[in-house]
Structure formats: structure tokens, C-alpha cells
């Protein structure tokens, strides 16, 4: 153990070794880094450490408490599992980016101040885009650029908010920033809004969510597994740390839990279906943070923990299909159960893990639903039941059915590589282990919550929910009422900037060009002269841009002060005269 070293830095710094070693050693390093980070976390004492003084502020680069511990722990476990899944990846770019991405997310979770949080926040953006670009297609490059703009934009908003917040409060500590409620939201400061929106972008709040469904289906099979684990859950952690009990988050979470289901029901790309379902599950966590009681915050943390596992498992199984078949589109898949029986079994376990008894999701989601019931949030409660059934339909049933059961069995498709199967097997075992022994997770949760998920009432009602959802799905498919898979997509909110905004920009450009053409040669010459004059004074050697000597600057400052004195006193002197 290196005292005061943030475990995330072990992954970030260790990843620098990856390009320097041969291919065979890259896998070993990728597996070792999360394990070393995990050992570091388990050996470090609770509390604050790694303090650095910067511009008069005390930065805390390492804070371990119950909330950061549970998120840091699952991030390190996820990094290890994703490393196994990605062992087949050749080259150094993707493994290095993945480790640095995971490391920065872990670093952010253990950040005790807003400046450290911002630094790691931005590193997650910059490193994760390489997991999209690693697909090495023009489409993935464009997607990566859009993703980067959004993610860096979130960082810019965060920095702006942090600067305002520090100016107002004099503190850089990353603790509760505000409780923004449905009653007091009008009084929230600009700093609060900026930070909340920055978190909201990464948490995929409604209208800020499209980066998720845009980027995740375009990354490499293993890249999407990495992406699904960290960015959005880091945002949930940040919300739980900065805005617990902000009940404005409850309606936001409600919308998040509902609307993605309609998209997930008919999207053709199964990885996009999972991205919408991920958005829906984030809604549960946002509701939990918004309710803000001990049980609800513990529920949000537990749901993040379990969701990372079962969503990774679903992305792993669909990623294995993509890896072997070359597509993840429902219209081009089907009948893979015989060719890929293990992958199929793991996909079904991932589906059951969403909310079936004996699996991870059952023991975590119940905490938030119970918290909503206990605090009288009827709308949140009923929506979470609706969303539980809906996500089981659109993800738990439709995804395995579309990939593995419907249609004819394909030819010449091999089972997933052994490393992928091993990763999926481990995640399945973890999900089952947590489902069978929930106290192992509950003991880690903040606020010392105790909860008993395995009451007969809870098991029966949950089985009823799942069985009737399955019956509805089977009947809808059998009677031909479930929408047919089509090689089409549904337009989402990003249409406004990707199509409408693009068209408006193009129109303005054409208008500008035609205006320049209209003003003729004389006008063009005048514009050129203005441009040349600006260039002359502002280019690197220009008068306003070049570096002046101290003496000249001192002379100019003196001259300006003298001029100011003349202007200030001249009227008085004239008046006296």
C-alpha cells in the first residue's frame, strides 16, 4: 500500500506501461492494475488523505467513506471483469484508454474536493472516447467527436459552476452542494444549476441523454462494456454526494424511467436497446437520490452496484454476438441459442438479474421502491413498478429472444472466445452471489441500512410482476401484436441538433455566401481590408499579440496612468481657471 495514493491513480499511471510492453504482457497488466487498485482500496483506512495546497485552497485527493467506498469497489471490480472480457483485443490504444478511463472514474469517486473531481471528470471524457474511436470507422469517428463535445461540455459547465461555487462559499470541499426541491428551485444559485446540469449530462437526464444512445452502440464490443460501467454511475455518485434529497430529481428520474422504454421496445440495434434500458435504470437511481432518505440513498448506491454488473453482462453477451456474427441488429439476428449456448445462458442470467429473485437487481431495486413507498411518493412508486415490468419486457425478454431464439439458426457461428465466456461467467456468479447473499452488499452501503428482501410477500409479488410481463410478451409475439423488427430507428431529441441545427447552420452559411456575392467586388475588397488589418495587429507578430519587453510595458503603463490623470484632473483645472 502506498499511503495517501488514490487507487484510481494506480490504473492511470500503470496504463502508461501498456504501450511499452509486448502484446502478451498487455493483458497481464490490464488484469493486474484493477487488482492492485483493489488491494490499495481495501488496505487504506477510512478518512481523508492526500492533501495538497493549491492557490490557498486545500485539495483532498483521497476521501474514503461509505459512499465513495461502495462506488470505488464496484468500479474496480468492473474494471477487472471488463479487462478479462477484453483480453482478445490487439494493440495498446484500447487497453490503455480503458484502464485510464476506469482509473479516472475511480479517482473522481475518491476526490474530496471539487477541483480534483473536475480534473478526473475531464480525464474520463478524454480517455473514454478512444473506446469509440477504436472501432476505426468513419461513423465511429463522428460519433466519438459528438461524444467528446458533450462530455467535455459537461466538464466546462462543472468548472464554471465550481468557480462560482468557490467564489460564493470560499470552500472547494465536495460535500452537499444544495438541496434543490420542487419548492425552492427558483432560488438555486447559478453555481448550483451549472454543477447540477454538468452532473445531469453524464447521468443522461432527459434532453441531455442522447450522447448515451448515440455513443454506446458505436464503440467496440469490449469498449461498450467499459463505457456502460463508469460514466453514468460516476454521475449518480456525484448526485448522491452533491444533491441528496433534492426532490426536483424525483420527477426527472420518473421521466427517465418511462420514456426510454418506448424506444427500447422497437429499436433495431440491440446495443441501442440496452442503452435506452440503461437510461431507464438510471431513472431509478435518480429517484433514489431525489428522495434522499438513508434507505433511498443506500438504494441508489446498491442499484448502481448491481446495475453495473447486470448491464455489463447484457452488453457482454450482445457484444459477443456482435463479435462473432458481425452485427447486433435484431433484423439480422436470431436462433443463436444452439450456436452460442453459453452466451445465450449468460444473456438470460443478465436478463433475470434485472429484477428476478435470487439475482442482484432484485435485492437493490427493492430498496428504492420501498423508500418511495415509505415516504409517500406514489407517482415514483407506481412508475418504478411500470418501469420494472417495461424494462423486463424490452430488455429481459426481447433482447435474448431477438438474438438467440426467434428465426432460424445461423450457419458458421462459433461460441464466444474463452476470455469473454470467463468474464460473463464471473459476472453471472457475482450476480447470483449477491442475490443469494444480499447482506454482503447491504453491509457495504452508506447509512447502515438494514433490509430484508426475501419476505414471502416480496418474492410472490415480484414473481407476479415478471410472470405477467412474460405472459404479455409471449401473447403479443404469438398473436403478431408485438411490433416487427425493422431496419429503422426512432428519431430522438438529438434530431434537433443533428438535423434541424445542422440544416439551420447550412442555410445561414448559404445566406452568408450569397450576401457576400451580392455586395460585389468592392464589398469583398472592403471585407478583405478589414480582415488584413485585424490580422496585422493580432497575428503572432502583430502589435497587440507579440511579447513586449518589461521596459516597454512599464512605459506604456506609465503613459496610460498619466493620460488617466490628465483626463481626471483636467475638468477640475479648467473649472478652477
Amino acid at each position: 500500500m502506498i499511503a495517501e495514493l488514490n487507487p484510481g491513480l494506480i490504473l492511470i499511471l500503470g496504463a502508461l506501461l501498456i504501450p511499452l510492453v509486448p502484446q502478451i504482457a498487455r493483458g497481464a497488466i490490464s488484469l493486474a492494475l484493477p487488482l492492485v487498485g483493489l488491494a490499495q482500496l481495501l488496505l487504506l483506512p477510512r478518512g481523508e488523505a492526500g492533501q495538497i495546497a493549491l492557490f490557498g485552497y486545500q485539495l483532498v485527493t483521497l476521501r474514503i467513506d461509505d459512499l465513495s467506498f461502495v462506488f470505488g469497489l464496484i468500479f474496480l471490480i468492473a474494471a477487472f471483469l471488463a479487462s478479462i472480457y477484453a483480453l482478445h483485443v490487439k494493440g495498446w490504444v484500447e487497453p490503455m484508454a480503458a484502464q485510464m478511463y476506469a482509473g479516472s472514474a475511480i479517482g473522481a469517486v475518491f476526490a474530496g474536493d471539487l477541483i480534483t473531481l473536475f480534473v478526473f471528470w475531464e480525464i474520463t471524457a478524454i480517455t473514454s472516447v478512444f473506446l469509440i474511436w477504436a472501432r476505426r470507422s468513419e461513423r465511429s469517428f463522428d460519433t466519438g467527436m459528438r461524444y467528446l463535445i458533450v462530455q467535455v461540455g459537461s466538464g466546462v459547465l462543472l468548472l464554471s459552476g465550481v468557480l462560482l461555487y468557490v467564489h460564493q462559499t470560499g470552500s472547494v470541499a465536495f460535500d452537499v452542494i444544495a438541496q434543490v426541491t420542487t419548492q425552492n428551485w427558483q432560488d438555486a444559485s447559478a453555481a448550483t444549476w451549472l454543477i447540477l446540469i454538468a452532473f445531469g449530462i453524464k447521468a443522461a437526464f432527459p434532453f441531455l441523454h442522447n450522447w448515451l444512445q448515440d455513443a454506446y452502440p458505436e464503440a467496440t464490443p469490449s469498449g461498450t462494456v467499459w463505457l456502460s460501467a463508469f460514466t453514468t454511475k460516476l454521475a449518480i455518485y456525484a448526485l448522491a454526494r452533491g444533491f441528496p434529497g433534492s426532490d426536483l430529481l424525483v420527477p426527472i428520474g420518473i421521466v427517465m424511467a418511462i420514456f426510454p422504454l418506448f424506444y427500447a421496445a422497437v429499436e433495431n440495434d440491440l446495443r441501442r436497446v440496452l442503452a435506452y434500458a440503461l437510461n431507464n435504470q438510471l431513472g431509478f437511481m435518480v429517484i433514489g437520490v431525489g428522495i434522499g432518505t438513508d434507505l433511498a440513498i443506500a438504494g441508489a448506491a446498491a442499484q448502481a452496484f448491481c446495475h453495473i454488473l447486470y448491464k455489463a453482462l447484457l452488453y457482454m453477451s450482445v457484444g459477443a454476438v456482435l463479435f462473432r456474427v458481425g452485427t447486433a441488429k435484431a433484423t439480422e439476428l436470431g436462433g443463436l441459442a444452439r450456436a452460442m449456448p453459453w452466451t445465450c445462458a449468460f444473456c438470460i442470467i443478465g436478463a433475470l438479474s434485472i429484477s428476478a429473485p435470487l439475482f442482484a437487481g432484485f435485492i437493490s431495486k427493492s430498496l428504492i421502491i420501498s423508500a418511495a413507498m415509505k415516504e409517500g411518493y406514489f407517482a415514483a412508486w407506481i412508475v418504478m413498478l411500470f418501469a420494472s415490468a417495461g424494462v423486463f419486457l424490452t430488455t429481459g425478454l426481447r433482447v435474448p429472444y431477438a438474438a438467440f431464439f426467434q428465426g432460424r439458426a445461423p450457419r458458421e457461428v462459433a461460441e464466444a472466445p474463452n476470455n469473454m465466456l470467463a468474464a460473463m461467467g464471473l459476472v453471472s456468479a457475482l450476480s447470483l452471489g449477491l442475490g443469494l447473499y444480499p447482506t454482503a452488499l447491504y453491509a457495504l452501503l452508506p447509512n447502515g441500512v438494514t433490509y430484508e428482501p426475501y419476505t414471502l410477500e416480496h418474492v410472490v409479488t415480484q414473481m407476479q410482476l415478471l410472470a405477467f410481463a412474460a405472459l404479455a410478451f409471449a401473447l403479443l409475439v404469438a398473436r403478431g401484436f408485438y411490433p416487427r423488427d425493422e431496419a429503422r430507428t426512432l428519431v430522438d431529441f438529438d434530431w434537433f441538433y443533428r438535423r434541424l441545427g445542422y440544416n439551420l447552420g447550412s442555410t445561414l452559411l448559404i445566406l452568408g455566401r450569397s450576401m457576400i456575392n451580392t455586395i460585389g467586388d468592392a464589398g469583398r475588397a472592403a471585407i478583405l481590408r478589414v480582415e488584413q488589418n485585424i490580422s496585422r495587429t493580432h497575428n503572432p507578430d502583430g502589435m497587440l499579440a507579440r511579447t513586449w519587453s518589461t521596459g516597454v510595458m512599464a512605459f506604456l503603463a506609465t503613459a496610460m496612468l498619466a493620460g488617466y490623470l490628465v483626463i481626471f484632473y483636467a475638468p477640475a483645472l479648467v473649472g478652477a481657471g
Binding site: L333, G390, M463, L471, V491
Partner: protein, 90 residues
């Protein structure tokens, strides 16, 4: 990386249409599971804070209704917002 290979198979028969033997099996399995879960309701006494949660088979009909709403909503959305997959590449 094989992700850019051409798909191993394309154009499988889509779902929908007349019920097939396989579909009937799934319906039968799901119906048995649903029936058992309904029967199990007689073994429990429910204590939901919201009264509606204590009504008979609430979680069952709520799930079925939710699925119908999701599918109906998706069909409506598809009729309004359906677009080619390469919409933004054009």
C-alpha cells in the same frame, strides 16, 4: 476485428403473423408461471402503504398493463418518428 465483416446471415423471418408451435410453448410456460404466481397470492398478506398495492393480483395486472402501454406507445412512436437507420449519414 470481425465487427466490420459482413453478417453471417441476413433477412431472417420476422416475428408476428400466425402463432407458431414455438410461440405456443412460450405462451404456455408463461401462463403456467403467471397462474402459479396468482395462486401464491393466497399464501401472503400484503402490507403496501398504498391501498391499490393490496388489491388482488395488483402486481400481475399492473405488469400486463404496463407491457401493453409500452408496446402501444412504441407503435404510436414508430408511426410518428420512424426513420431510416442511416438518417444522419445522408
Amino acid at each position: 476485428m470481425p465487427s466490420n465483416k459482413s453478417p453471417a446471415h441476413k433477412g431472417r423471418a420476422t416475428n408476428g403473423g400466425a402463432p407458431k408451435a414455438g410461440s405456443r410453448t412460450w405462451v404456455a410456460i408463461a401462463a403456467v408461471a403467471a397462474g402459479l404466481s396468482l395462486a401464491a397470492e393466497f399464501l401472503i398478506s400484503k402490507h403496501d402503504s398504498f391501498e391499490i398495492g393490496n388489491s388482488f393480483a395488483f402486481y400481475g395486472w399492473m405488469a400486463a398493463l404496463s407491457c401493453l402501454i409500452v408496446v402501444a406507445g412504441a407503435v404510436a412512436l414508430r408511426s410518428l418518428l420512424s426513420a431510416p437507420e442511416d438518417l444522419y449519414d445522408r
